[in-house]
């Protein structure tokens, strides 16, 4: 097990550097890193040259990347366009987005898996057909439309929730935004659980468990569910990174000042340091989440042993 973890960590290193280099190149080569520093107007040539020298932008790109990465490893992510430290922005933004992601994941687990189990056990019945059709509709409606409509109906027309989230973003205000963020993945979790349950419910070990006279509840929770949840866990695990990166739309709708908000500002204002810094952390989250999922495999499925 220990060896496996080390091998996986070693495999992660090139991917981490590759992904950060890619985003670094995308931001620096395709965009203009100093454009954001002069407001909406273009910098005059003398100021531009001065700024480029100051930030080391006159050096070759590979040298800039190495310098940047060197700084990152000492905890220095640089400064955003308005002079704030990127690490300051991060410490304000990440807790909010992590809370939002937790709410979303909980919705995926509670609603997604329950619906999946219910439909998987009743394949071809009306419940199954209706839920399947609903999941397709949820997947098809873009998240920003779902979000805007829920905000309009629940927040503005009926006044059930606050239309926008307050700066502190406590859990109770993040319920509906979390549901919106989770919506598409929720539908996928439902479908995945359903397929998995339906496939496994015909397995020999389920028949044996039923033949032994175990109560239905026990067969489902102890035998069927534990085996069927492996692909679902994989999906939810890899979804953590996707949710945090995709929160940009939800955060914009409900005015949540999290990672998505900072990235949106960073991209629009061409704040190189903000974008590269936040994406670097997101890539790291994504890689670690994938590793944890692989290790969870062994816990869920005793047949899998890592040497």
């Amino acid at each position: 097990m220990g060896r496996y973890v080390i091998r996986r960590l070693l495999q992660m290193i090139p991917v981490f550097f590759g992904a950060t280099l890619l985003i670094f190149l995308m931001v620096n080569v395709m965009g203009d890193p100093i454009a954001g520093l002069c407001g909406d107007k273009a910098c005059d040539p003398a100021t531009a040259a001065q700024l480029k020298k100051e930030f080391g932008l006159d050096k070759p790109v590979w040298q800039q990347y190495l310098t940047y990465m060197g700084n990152v490893f000492t905890g220095d992510f640089g400064t955003a366009f308005n002079g704030q430290k990127v690490t300051e922005l991060m410490s304000a933004a990440f807790p909010v987005t992590i809370r939002l992601t937790i709410v979303a994941i909980l919705f995926e687990i509670v609603i997604g898996i329950s619906l999946g189990v219910v439909t998987g056990l009743r394949r071809g019945r009306p419940v199954d057909t209706v839920v399947l059709m609903l999941t397709l509709i949820v997947i098809a409606i873009p998240v920003f439309v779902t979000g805007l409509l829920l905000q309009l109906l629940l927040g503005v027309e009926w006044g059930v929730i606050r239309p926008t989230v307050s700066p502190e973003a406590p859990f109770n205000e993040l319920l509906i935004p979390g549901l919106v963020l989770a919506s598409v993945s929720l539908a996928y979790v439902t479908r995945l659980t359903r397929t998995s349950i339906a496939e496994n419910s015909r397995a020999d070990y389920v028949r044996t468990a039923v033949a032994k006279g175990l109560p239905r509840r026990r067969v489902i929770t102890k035998h069927l569910l534990r085996n069927s949840l492996i692909p679902v866990v994989t999906f939810i695990g890899t979804d953590v990174g996707a949710l945090m990166g995709g929160a940009i739309v939800t955060e914009r709708i409900f005015n949540i000042h999290g990672v998505g908000y900072q990235l949106y500002q960073g991209i629009l204002r061409q704040s190189t340091q903000t974008v590269v810094g936040f994406v670097t952390v997101l890539v790291l989250v994504f890689l670690v989440a994938n590793l944890i999922v692989d290790l969870l495999y062994a816990v869920l499925d005793p047949r899998i042993r890592y040497a």
């Binding site: 890619l22 395709m30 990166g245 949106y264």
Partner: protein, 314 residues
């Protein structure tokens, strides 16, 4: 494949004369023939393909559906005027937007942009991802480690929407082609993984070993023997992705980084209508419905094809 016939004509003649092609052709017919028989009876398939056909016709000939102009507005038509739902197909059917332009005319003329983005991104990612996945899966070893273990994972690690935004930010005017390229830039990884997985299984098949033993060239093995047999899962993923890419284009427009204004698209109209969401919902509602129906049609088609091709689902 003219150049290959020149390189190893005898080997190929023997190969063609011997067992594999006849057996393969029959097998291929039965898989696709079976799938087709299954699809024709599937209501999801029938409904989605009719929808897609209608959308393609609208995209190709918008003039057949409305005579109103999508670009000239007349402020005589105030956007607060309620849509006249009884006048189906007329300019005032679905109401007017803030500039006094017919929402219905823009809906019809906006179809083309969404369909073009969806199809061109899907073609691009299928070619790029398909080639990378096929080469990685077939050659294995360090080529696989580089293409699949490194490059695919690197592109997969960057959040799709964020990456596309960064790319699009550097363009001041964004046409459908620019948006398509930006979406394809990070969007090819899923197809590459699916293709690699399929190739890994197929390269163990007897007919591939036979072709190799008979001295067929690598490109012949790849394109004549492996590719046709690996296409099924790729087609399914590509069909579903087509819907997802159409939705992504609209999302980028909502974030202000999709198509830019002289272009007519549902995404542009939805994001334009958000400012009036409290007073005149029809401006954003109808493009949203049209967009969702289109995405739904492609996802349903993909699901139907998947069920038809996957014997486990029977």
């Amino acid at each position: 494949m003219p150049d290959m016939t020149k390189t190893a004509p005898e080997a190929e003649a023997i190969e063609d004369a011997l067992a594999p092609p006849a057996v393969k052709a029959e097998k291929a017919r039965s898989l696709w023939g079976d799938a087709w028989a299954d699809l024709r009876r599937n209501p999801y398939f029938v409904v989605s393909s009719v929808l897609i056909l209608v959308l393609l016709v609208i995209a190709a000939f918008p003039g057949w559906f409305t005579s109103a102009s999508p670009t000239t507005g007349d402020l005589v038509h105030h956007y607060l005027g309620k849509p006249e739902l009884s006048k189906v197909g007329s300019a005032e059917w679905l109401g007017y937007d803030v500039q006094g332009r017919s929402v219905y005319a823009r809906l019809i003329h906006g179809t083309r942009a969404s369909i073009i983005v969806g199809i061109s991104v899907t073609l691009l990612v299928t070619v790029i991802g398909g080639l990378i996945g096929m080469i990685a899966g077939y050659f294995g070893g360090w080529i696989d480690a580089l293409l699949s273990g490194f490059i695919t994972n690197v592109f997969f690690g960057i959040p799709f929407l964020l990456g596309s935004m960064v790319v699009l930010q550097s363009f001041t005017s964004r046409s459908v082609w620019v948006v398509s390229l930006a979406l394809a830039f990070l969007g090819w990884t899923q197809i590459a993984r699916v293709m690699r997985g399929a190739v890994l299984t197929i390269k163990q098949a007897d007919y591939v070993h036979a072709a190799k033993a008979l001295g067929a060239s690598t490109s012949r093995i790849l394109f004549r023997h492996i590719l046709p047999n690996a296409m099924a899962p790729v087609i399914v993923v590509a069909t579903i992705s087509l819907g997802v890419f159409i939705s992504a284009e609209a999302t980028l427009s909502y974030l202000g980084l999709g198509l830019s204004s002289p272009a007519i698209s549902w995404g542009v109209d939805i994001s334009g209508g958000i400012a009036q969401i409290r007073t005149a919902q029809h401006i954003m509602l109808y493009p949203s419905i049209m967009l969702s129906i289109t995405v739904l049609a492609f996802i349903m088609l993909g699901e139907a094809v998947r069920n038809a091709l996957d014997p486990k689902m029977r």
